[in-house]
Amino acid sequence: MIRSDKDLWAGLIYVFFGSIAIIVGRDYPMGTAFKMGPAYFPNILGALLMFIGVISVVRSFVLPAAPIGAFSLGGVALVSVSIFVFGFLVRRAGLAIALPLLVVISAHGSAKFRWGPTLAIAVGLTVFCTLVFVKGLGIPLPVLGPWFGG
């Protein structure tokens, strides 16, 4: 019987990352304690992390804890998608397209979303960021990218 889903999932994540460290690390030379190869330290850490993960999983059957609670899938999805879309578009379509999209998509994550103020913020931020970051600080981002002949 699982008593703490927090411990269970955290433990599984540790085991996952620990095993990746060891499995992928097999491609690199191990070396010796005297002359450590690139795989030596990550292997120690990977084994340690798996060990901690196993303890955490075992503990999840023993020690009760507060449940994780509702997982806000919508919030995660909107915030991360808005960032990925921004990353993909910013050099191709340009800041003037990517930035307003980031604002509009991510703003849907709030229960109090309203179109009017959101659009105003999108326009205001686009003007501000173009002036400060692109013109002022010289960050090499196109205002209108290659997709629009920029």
Binding site: M36, L48, L49, I83, F84, S110
Partner: protein, 502 residues
């Protein structure tokens, strides 16, 4: 007087009109972003770091120091006015600060915090100036074994101070160390864990991780429970404390400064421990102890002084040893490296103007704070009132542009997005991100020193306990970890964090 001479060098380096202006901008921006809900100093510095890249090194670091103090003070302001601490260190300020504000004494609370912070900052500046050089001298005798053990101690301290389960704090540290190893191995030139992705050859940038886990992750968490923030006072009258306030807060400021300065030097602690300790000591020592939690000015002055003193003395290990002791100083180390300065004991002798310039600029930053923030409190109040739903899309925009500008790589934007998701998941699972970030930065350094130490000892692992300084540091680390298991300590730790999560 060596001390005075050194400080004079610092003043010459940092007090130029241009640098004062950068310091001013830093304090201003830092406070402006620090008062926004959900943005602590780590996220604030990570967001503003790219802005400083265009400046010369001394100016950049002065501006960063200003941002740091500004964001910390911003956190105190929100603690007092809306009961929302921006970071763990200002949690205790909410206990009495918010009560004072409810009684219409917000002005006095804000002034107590500012005056206490300024005094503490001044004392801590002298401490850095006094203890920096001898410590750096000692550090020059450090071999790889000592450095390795020192980092173990720093990580142990960050584990002890992490919120929640000890097991998960250790897990996060090990995970952080592993993530730090991604990229090209310096010794062998082998590309590790890059999965053939070209952008990973240089490793993952710490700013990317910090912005993802502290910036994005926090936004997702805030969206989960959007609550109304109500500002209880519309106007702040009479900032200046009364005569009675002064009499009550001066001893508290002195004690808070002493406690904070001492605890701040410990690697891994920063200012959190100091503010908690100062509050509980003050509660016992002060003759107004029974008023604590009901709006006692001592309960604001002591932890705020300790907080600032600790924030500043925590730079001692960073400046003298080159080892960051918390995420904030790690960001500063990162900034120094980007400007071509390798922090460490040699900075004092090789670049005295830079070293003393930073030390003095910390004090100037504190001075700016007190000059700026009390008169500008009206602006900060208005910033606190910006509704969150209009605020966070803007934060995302600044994170996106900021992380891109680090290496002009869109890959970093995706990576930040991934760390944002990871940060949210870990927060849900009760695993704290701060120890992970520290470990992430120390990972490659630790491996490097471990390798060198083992090379020198011809593969004998006992070298770490045979050398006296290294053995002492390791013993301290073990002691720190064991202290958590003591019933009395673990009770205090739970209570302290229970207050912070309430």
């Amino acid at each position: 007087m060596d001390l005075m001479n050194n400080l004079l060098i610092g003043f010459q380096a940092s007090a130029s009109p241009a640098n004062l202006l950068y310091c001013f901008i830093g304090v201003f921006l830092g406070t402006a972003i620090g008062v926004l809900p959900g943005l602590g100093p780590t996220a604030t510095i990570a967001m503003l770091l790219p802005v400083t890249f265009v400046l010369p090194p001394v100016s950049a670091l002065i501006m960063l120091a200003g941002i740091y103090y500004g964001s910390q003070y911003g956190g105190s302001t929100t603690s007092i006015l809306v009961n929302l601490p921006g970071e763990a260190a200002s949690v205790v300020t909410t206990l009495d600060g918010y009560q004072m504000a409810r009684q219409g004494r917000a002005g006095a609370a804000l002034a107590a915090s500012a005056i206490g912070s300024f005094f503490a900052g001044t004392v801590a500046t002298f401490l850095i100036a006094a203890f920096g050089p001898p410590l750096a001298n000692m550090a020059l005798k450090f071999g790889p074994a000592e450095y390795f053990s020192l980092m173990i101690l720093g990580l142990a301290a960050s584990i002890v101070l992490a919120q929640g389960s000890l097991l998960h704090a250790i897990g996060m540290v090990v995970l952080g160390l592993l993530l730090g190893l991604i990229g090209t191995d310096v010794t062998s030139g082998v590309q590790r864990y890059t999965f053939g992705i070209f952008e990973l050859a240089d490793g993952i940038g710490f700013v990317t991780v910090a912005m993802g886990m502290f910036g994005l992750g926090e936004i997702i968490r805030n969206l989960e429970n959007e609550e109304e923030r109500s500002l209880i006072i519309s106007k702040i009258t009479s900032l200046w404390p009364t005569r009675e306030d002064w009499q009550r807060m001066i001893p508290s400021i002195l004690r808070g400064t002493a406690v904070g300065s001492m605890l701040g030097i410990l690697p891994g602690s920063g200012s959190i421990l100091g503010s908690f300790a100062a509050y509980s000591i003050e509660k016992k020592v002060s003759k107004n102890g029974h008023l604590f939690g009901k709006g006692a000015i001592e309960g604001v002055a002591a932890p705020e002084s300790a907080n600032n003193a600790g924030a500043q003395t925590s730079f001692i290990p960073m400046l003298t040893l080159g080892i960051p002791s918390n995420p904030v100083s790690a960001l500063m180390v990162g900034a120094m490296i980007i400007h071509g300065i390798q922090p460490g004991p040699s900075v004092i002798t090789e670049q005295p103007a830079l070293f003393w310039g930073i030390v003095v600029s910390m004090w100037i930053g504190n001075l700016m704070l007190i000059l700026l923030n009390l008169p500008l409190i009206g602006i900060w109040v208005r910033m606190i009132m910006i509704p969150y739903q209009y605020l966070y899309p803007g934060i995302l925009v600044f994170c996106g542009i900021g992380v891109f500008s680090l290496k002009n790589a869109e890959f970093d934007i995706y990576l930040m997005g991934l760390f944002g998701i990871l940060g949210y998941i870990f927060a849900k699972l009760g695993c704290e991100a701060a120890p992970m970030l520290l470990a992430f930065i120390l990972g490659p350094l630790m491996e490097e020193y471990l390798r060198r130490a083992m090379l020198l000892s011809r593969g004998n692992p006992w070298v770490f306990v045979q050398r006296p300084i290294s053995a002492t540091l390791l013993a301290l680390a073990v002691l720190a970890l064991c202290s958590v298991l003591l019933p009395s300590f673990s009770k205090t730790r739970r209570e302290a964090f229970a207050e912070s999560s309430a």
